[in-house]
Symmetry: C2
Subunit: 191 residues, 2 copies
Amino acid sequence: MLESQQRSSYTGALSPEYALLGFLALREAHGYGLHQQLVQELGQVWHVSLSQTYNILGRLERQGYISGSMMPQDKLPARRTYHLTQAGRRRFDQWLQSPSGCSVHAIRVEFSTRLYFALLLQPGYADELIDLQVKVVQGGLQRMRKALSCMPPEQTVNRLGLSLRIRQLTSVAEWLTECRTALGPAHDMER
Amino acid sequence: MLESQQRSSYTGALSPEYALLGFLALREAHGYGLHQQLVQELGQVWHVSLSQTYNILGRLERQGYISGSMMPQDKLPARRTYHLTQAGRRRFDQWLQSPSGCSVHAIRVEFSTRLYFALLLQPGYADELIDLQVKVVQGGLQRMRKALSCMPPEQTVNRLGLSLRIRQLTSVAEWLTECRTALGPAHDMER
DNA sequence: CCAACATACTCACCGAGTGAGTATAGGGTA
DNA sequence: TACCCTATACTCACTCGGTGAGTATGTTGG
């Protein structure tokens, strides 16, 4: 009964792990620095504490996507430098190709992150990424509008809840076109 | 640096625990039934699995906000019937009075839930609740707009991220006025 | 007669996220 | 010189969020 949503087996895409993989795709780094980078570059997108960053790095290493080794420094304490494994590279590349779901949160954090790395790694691909996402959003909007029209009127709060989701997704669609115009000029200069 | 957000000590307000407290404020009930109620009445607002419902009930009981006792049934297996304690009643009443933060998610789920119970328990209060929330949202919007104007232009993705948050919150504000008109007529009949 | 479905939970597990703690180095001040 | 604050660089223990599988029984449809 209207359980759409596309939850399925949770892929962890809504934690900043791909951002960390992305930074490591650019160059190897250690946890503390990665956290600083995350805050500076994507602080408006993700809000992650230092220990959370280490948690994710630990998990990514356990799962074999990154691998780290202690690098002693003179004066300052030794630090663990991570680099992407082949599996990690594959995972990141694959993620970069696939559009986000059509939940507002997914788009705000995951799509923005994807856009960030697309601009850095293959700027010509950004437009395509946005178009792809627009299509997903449009599809989601249709489904939601249909669901709303099918909902009994006495479900006041449920109707309002869905109505808000529709408004939110509509403004996401508008924002996506804003993205295109915001990136358009710089993008033209690239090619 | 722009850590606004009002995180502070996390109050658990973004899990459906208050919805469960609310249902129990109306009448005592057992886990399975509470879950059904949650899905039927607020399914567009919260997406909670059965086991998650039991998790939360377990925690609420450990924390002393609800208390349950096994009620044997003939034929069907015995079930644990919960009722609100005084502490739970206080907690729920206090929550019902206080506006949500100005994050989109907080409003979508928490405010909607508050509105749902306000309409059931003290319908005359709903308008006031909405007005209160509008003020919070307007304040948040101002802070975000200011933050955006202060952000360096080279922070493209961060700027876009904040811009989306602003769009989202703007559409929340519009939705709140939709709430008022949607509830207005029924509401007039109440007084 | 059997399968599917509804009732009513329980359990084990992993990821999300926080806060406190550890240790060292460098810079400023009283 | 003693002291404190900040920055670097983590580690640990803990709670909450959330899922999926499993258990056990009764009812209903083919």
